[in-house]
Subunit: 412 residues, 4 copies
C-alpha cells in the first residue's frame, strides 16, 4: 500500500560523513528473523557481538552496547562516572564537541571549555575548528588544577563537523605529564573502524562510539568501551542513571545476554560488519581510508579550495571538509549537486554553515565511489559558478592510480 521511495531509489550516492552507505551484506543480515532475546540461541549471538567489539575497540575490557543512537552513548559516558556539579574539561574541536559540552551542562555538570583561540584571517573560521586537540593546553590547565576538581577530560577523536582526527595518545600523555587523575573520555563515533583507534594502548577510560559510520550499520546501536579505572569511578558516581547504567549490563553480558531488550536485528548486522572488517584486516581498512582521504584532499587542493582541517598532521581519513570561497553559499552548491547529480553531501554545521561542505569517505567507500562523489562535486561547483583552478578528479585519480593495490582477487 505504502511507498517508501522517499528518495530516488537505488541510484543515489550518499556522500555524507555518516550515516554511511549500508552494504547489502549488512542489510541481508538485518533481515534474519528476530529471535527470543532470552532464548538459548541468543547467548551465542551475544558472545560473538561482545568479543568482536573488543577486537574493534582494541580493548580487553568491557564494551557496553546500547540499543540507542550515539547521543545516548555520550550521556552514558558522563552519567556513569560523574556526579552532579563535577567539573569537566572539554576541548572544543567543532560542532560535535560543542554539543557534547551542552549535554554536560544540561546534565548538571560544570564543563569548562578549552580551545585554540583566534580566527583564521583568510577564511574567517575559528582556529579551533580547523585544528586538532592541543594536548599542551590540556596539560597546562590540569597543572593549574592542584585540587583535582576536574574529574574528566573530554575530547573528540574524529570531529565529524570539520574533518580533524586528534592525537588521543598525546592527550593521555598530557594528562599523565600533569600528574592529574582525571578520566579521559573520548568520542570516536565517526572514527571507529575507519581510523585507527586503540582504547587500551592509548589509555582511554571511556570511549564513545556508534554504529552508522565505520561499522557501516544503520543508526541505532552505540557503545561505551570502559577501562577498569572508569569502572572504579562508576561505583561512586552519583548522577542518576538506569538505562545507561553499566553495572547491570556488564554483569549480565557475562552470559551473552542483556538486562533489557537488545536490538537483535542490528546485532546480526554488527556480527557481519565485524566479519567484513576482519576479513579485509583492520590495518588494511585503516590504510584504505588514509589513501581515500589523501585522494580527496588532492582533489580539493587541485580545485584551489581550502581543506577545513588546516593541520596536515590531523587530516581525517573519514571525511574532508571543503571550504568554499567567500561569497559562495555552500548549501546552495550542495542543493544544486543533489538535484543535478543525485549526490548527498554533508552540510556545514553551526559556525561553518554555508562556508563549507563535507565529503564522507568512510565505511565501505572505495576508489570508484570516491571518484563518483568527487565528479559530482566538481561538475556541481562549476555549474554553481565557482572558479576552480584545475580538475580535482584528475588529481584524485593520480593519487589513487599510483597507490593502487589489489582490491579483488581475479581467480582466473
Amino acid at each position: 500500500m505504502t511507498s517508501l521511495n522517499f528518495h530516488p531509489a537505488g541510484r543515489h550516492v550518499l556522500g555524507i560523513p555518516g550515516p554511511s552507505p549500508v552494504p547489502d551484506r549488512l542489510l541481508r543480515a538485518m533481515s534474519y528473523p528476530t529471535i527470543d532475546h532470552r532464548g538459548p540461541e541468543f547467548g551465542v549471538l551475544g558472545h560473538r557481538v561482545l568479543a568482536g567489539l573488543q577486537r574493534i575497540f582494541q580493548t580487553r575490557h568491557p564494551v557496553v552496547v546500547y540499543p540507542a543512537s550515539g547521543t545516548g552513548a555520550w550521556e552514558a559516558a558522563l552519567t556513569n562516572v560523574l556526579s552532579p556539579g563535577d567539573a569537566v574539561l572539554m576541548y572544543e574541536t567543532g560542532h560535535f564537541a560543542s554539543l557534547w559540552r551542552k549535554m554536560a551542562e544540561r546534565l548538571g555538570l560544570a564543563p569548562e571549555v578549552v580551545a585554540l583561540p583566534g580566527i583564521c584571517p583568510q577564511t574567517g573560521l575559528p582556529n579551533s575548528w580547523r585544528r586538532g586537540v592541543q594536548p599542551d593546553l590540556i596539560e597546562r590547565r590540569l597543572r593549574e588544577d592542584g585540587g583535582h576538581q576536574i574529574k574528566a577530560v573530554c575530547v573528540v577523536h574524529n570531529e565529524t563537523s570539520t574533518g580533524v582526527t586528534s592525537d588521543i595518545a598525546a592527550v593521555r600523555r598530557a594528562i599523565d605529564a600533569a600528574g592529574h587523575p582525571a578520566l579521559l573520555l573520548v568520542d570516536t563515533i565517526s572514527g571507529l573502524a575507519s581510523a585507527d583507534y586503540r582504547h587500551d594502548e592509548w589509555g582511554v577510560d571511556v570511549t564513545v562510539s556508534g554504529s552508522q559510520k565505520g561499522l557501516m550499520l544503520p543508526p541505532g546501536i552505540s557503545f561505551n568501551a570502559v577501562s577498569p579505572k572508569a569502572l572504579e569511578a562508576a561505583r561512586s558516581a552519583r548522577l542518576p542513571k538506569a538505562f545507561w547504567a553499566w553495572d547491570e549490563i556488564i554483569e549480565i553480558n557475562k552470559t551473552g545476554y542483556w538486562p533489557y531488550t537488545p536490538n537483535t536485528n542490528l546485532l546480526y548486522a554488527l556480527v557481519e560488519a565485524v566479519d567484513m572488517l576482519e576479513t579485509e584486516g583492520l590495518s588494511a581498512v585503516f590504510a584504505r581510508h588514509q589513501r581515500l582521504g589523501a585522494a580527496c584532499r588532492a582533489a580539493v587542493l587541485a580545485w584551489g579550495l581550502d581543506v577545513q582541517c588546516a593541520d596536515p598532521a590531523v587530516y581525517s581519513p573519514v571525511l574532508t571538509g571543503v571550504v568554499v570561497p567567500q561569497g559562495v553559499d555552500a548549501d546552495a552548491v550542495r542543493q544544486l549537486i543533489y538535484e543535478r547529480f543525485n549526490l548527498s553531501l554533508g552540510t556545514g554545521l553551526s559556525k561553518l554553515k554555508g562556508r563549507m561542505f563535507r565529503i564522507g569517505h568512510l565505511g565501505e567507500c572505495n576508489d570508484l565511489s570516491l571518484l563518483a562523489a568527487l565528479s559530482g562535486c566538481e561538475m556541481g561547483l562549476k555549474l554553481a559558478g565557482v572558479r576552480l583552478q584545475g580538475s580535482g578528479v584528475a588529481a584524485a585519480m593520480e593519487v589513487l592510480q599510483h597507490s593502487a593495490t589489489c582490491q579483488a582477487r581475479y581467480p582466473g
Copy 2:
C-alpha cells in the same frame, strides 16, 4: 564468511509475547537505503512517521520517538516530568511493573508500591500478579495524600509477564475522583496496536511504548506520547536529562527532523507497519487479537490448566499465561517444546519462574499461527508427562471456526 544461523532458519515458530515475528513487509522496508537524516527527503519521512503515530496512540498531542528500546522510554517518562525525591505511586501488576519501580528508585525517586495483597491459595501465586490494576486502591491512597506529595501514578496497561490488561480509563477516573493532580503515566509497551489504547480519551499524561510488539518491528524504537499537562510538568521537572529530553525533540519534530540521529531504517518499517495496521483497520486489529486470546484461553481451559490472569474482565488479547501444575517445571516443558517442535514460548519471570509459561498472540498472529503454537504446546505438555483433561487445540479450533470471518478476499 560468517554464519548468522544462530537459529534453525525459516522454520522456527516465535511464540513469545514479543519481540513478535517481523512480517516480511517490514523486513523489506528496513532494507531501504539509509538516507541523510538532515537531507531533504527525510522531512517527508519524519512527518509521515509522526502523523501515523498519533493515529496509533489515538492522540492529537506529540508522540516522541526514541532511537532506543522500551526501557529507555520508561526512563524518559520519569525524567521529563519528575524531580529528585518525588513520590510516585506505582501499581504492581507483575514483573515489568516491578522493574519500572526499580528504575524509579535508581533514578532517585521515591516510589510507593500499591498492590492487591495476598496469595492465591490454589496456585501459591501472588494475587496481585493475577489481576489488573485496582483503581479503588489507587483512589484510596490518593485521597490520603492531602498534601499532593505524590506526583505521578504509574501503571502498566498490558502486563507482559502475566497477561493482564488493566482498565486505564478507570484509573483516570479514580485519580479524578480523588481530586488529585498526580500525572498518569502508563506503560503499554506490549499493548499498543494489539489491544485498544486511547491516550487522549483515557486522559493519560505519558504513554510509554515500543516497537517490537503490536507494531511488529524489531526492537530499537520506543515512544512517549505526551499530554499538555505532562508538557507543562516537564518545564519545572529537575531530574537531569538530555538524550530523553522532550523539549528539543518536539521543537525540531515540527519540521519532520530530529535533533540527533534517528534510526532511519526502523522508521521505514514503522511507516509500513502503520500502513498495514490501517489497511486492516485498527478496530479489526483489536478484534482479531481479542478473538485469538479467547481461542488461546479456551485451549488452556480444555487442557485443565489455569490461565495466569484470574479475572476474566482483564484477560489480555496480547498473550496468555499458562500455569502448570505444582511439581511441573514450566521451563523444562518449554525446553522440550523448543527442542522437539522448534517453538519458542515465554518463560515465567521472577516470582513466576518455573510455575508458568507464556504464549504470545500479538502482532501479525492469525488463526493458523496460533493453532501451530497451541499444537506444539499440547504435544510438548503431553511428552513432558503433564496430564491434560482434553485437547486445547480442538477447543481453540471450535472458537475460531465459529467466529471465523473473511481474512482474505478471493478475487475469483
Copy 3:
C-alpha cells in the same frame, strides 16, 4: 510507487504441493548482487552448483541446469535423446504424466500410454490415478516390442496431482527383465529433495526436476540428470534442439560456466538450499517428510475421508490428496478455507477437479506448519458442512508427538 501486496502479506499459509514456501535464507541468497556470468568469480559459483546437484541427484554423471521452469526440462529430456516419430512408452499416473505425454505428441513423438485400467467403484476415480506405476505392465509391453521400436519409458516418480510416489528401481528392473534397451526417463520435479531419489543406483537415464519443490527455491531453474547411456543416445537423436541441447552445456560446464546467460540469482539460492539440506542431512530430510506424510494421512483417515493414493506402498511424502465426499465441491471448500483461514491448498486437477484437494508437506515443512495447515482444513471442512468422523488434527498430533525427535538443539 507500486504495490506488490497481491496477497495478504506475511501471514498467508502456502499449503500447496509446490511452489513450496521459500525460506528466508534463500530469499536473502537471491538478493546477492548479480555478477558477470563470464567474470572470474562466477566459475567458483558454477562449480559449487554443479557439485552440489550431483550430491542431491545422487549421481556421478552430469546434471544439466536450465534457466527455465520444469516444463522446459521435460522437453529437454525428450529432445536430447529422441528422433521424430520415435515410440515412447508413457505410464499414466495422473495429470502431470498426462501433460508430459501431450508434450511428446506435440514434439512429433509417438507416445503410447500404459495405465491401470478401471474406475474405483466407491469414488468414481480412475484406478490409475490412485496407484503407482505398475512395473509388470511395463515389462509386459516391452516384451511384446521385439523390434525395440520403443525408445524410451517415461514415468513420473512423484505424481503431484495425486500424491503417489512410484518405485523407480522396480521400473528399471522391469525394463531389464524384459531385456529391452529403452531409456528410462523419470520426472521427479516434485519428489527431489523431499523423497529419496537415486539417479545412478536406480539406473535412470534422464531425470527431470525443478527448483520450486523440495529445493525450496522459487520457480525458474530446472534440471536434467543424464546417464552415460543417455549421452550416447543424444549423439544420434534428431529432434531439433538448441536451447535444450546438452552437448554444449556439459562441455562448457567443465569450466564452471554456461554457454548462455544463467539465472545467477537463483543459483545463489540453489547453493544455499543444498547447504541447508546437507546440514540437516539428506536422510534426515527424507525421514522428516515421511513422518509428516504419515501424520497428514492420519488426519485424513480420522476425518473419515479417503486419501487419493489407494496403495499404502506408494504414499507420497511430498503431498497428500484428500478426496471429498461425493456431492461436495472440493474447490468451494478450498475457497472457503482461503477466505477464512488464509491458507492455500492445491486444487484437484483435470479428472479430479472438484473431487479432491491437495495438501503439500514438502520443502521446509515441519510439524507445526503441517498442523497449522491441517487445522485450517479441519475448520474449513466443518464450516463447509462436510461431516467429519473425528479430529484429524488430534490424530496428526498423536503421530507427531510419538515420533518427535530433536528438531533444534537447546544450547542452554
Copy 4:
C-alpha cells in the same frame, strides 16, 4: 553455513553491458512470498505484468513471457513461425547475430548471412562488426528472391558485442520496398527499455528480449512480442515446439495465468521495474541513456582510442565498445582494472577477443556511476601502460555538466 561472497560484497562496480546492476527496489520485490500460480491473487499479478510489457514494447499485440533466459526467446521466435529447412536471411552485426544464426542452423533452418564485407584497415576489425544493419543489402537480396523462399529476416537491434544500434524502421522499409512477404524478427535483448523501441510502429513481427538489461532484473525471463502476421504464420509453422509454443500461452494469458509454472518472483520484480521506468517516463529513460552514451564516447575519444562502432548514426545508448591499440591485450587491461579497482568490464567476444572491451551504461546507470566506471578505466589503462591522449573522465564530465538537468527534486 554457506558463504555466497563469491565477489567482494557491496562495493563491486558492475560495468558490463548486462546483466546490469539490479536496483535494490527490484531485489526487494523479488523477495515477496511466492504465491500459488493457480490461486486467486495470481491473476491480478499476471494482468499487470502483461499490460506493462505491452507499454514497454510499444505494442497492442501479445507479449509472450518465458520463464527462461534470452537464448530461449531466440529459439521461440524461430520455432513458432518457421518450418524445417526454411530459408532465413540473417544480418551479421556481431557475435550475438552470429550466435542466433548458429541456433537457426542447429534447429534445421537454412540461414543465409548478409553482412557488410571487408576489414577496417586501421584496426583489422571486420567492417560488419563496426556498423549497423544495411537495409539496402537486405532489400537487394529480397528482390532477388522472387520465389519468396526466404521466410524471415533476422536482425539484432542493439548488438551487445559491439555497441551498435541498428535502424529497425529502415529494415522494415527495405522489406516493404522489395515487396517481400518475409517476417521481420528482431532481437532487442539488450536494447529494450534503454534504447527506444517500437514493436508496432516499426512493423516488427517478432521481437525477442530479456530481463537482465534495460529492465534491470536478474536473468531468467525472456519475451516474444508477436504481430498478427506472426501469429498467422505460427498456425502453419512445422518446427516442433511445446515449451515455446505461443498458442497455449496466449490463450491462457487472457485470464492472467500461464499454462505452466511461471517464475513468480521475477514477475514481481518486472512489475516494479515497469513502475520505475514509467515513473521516470520512457522518453526520459531513453534520453538519459543517449546522454550517458555521448559522455562515454567523449571519454573514449579524449583518451585517443577508437569507439568500436564506426558509424555515429548508430552509436548505442546501451554500451560502448573501446578498441585498444594494436599490441595491447584488452583482457589483460580488464583483469588489471578488476583487481585494482573492483570494476567489471565486458570482454571482447569472438573476433574481437583481446582487441576491445565494453563499458555498459544501461539500466539504472546515471552520471556518477558512469564516471565511476570511466575513472576505473582511465586509471587502469594508464597502469597497463596504454598511452592516453587526455583525460576521458574530464571529457565525460564536460558533456554531463553541460547537459545536466534535474535528477532529483530537492523538497526543501
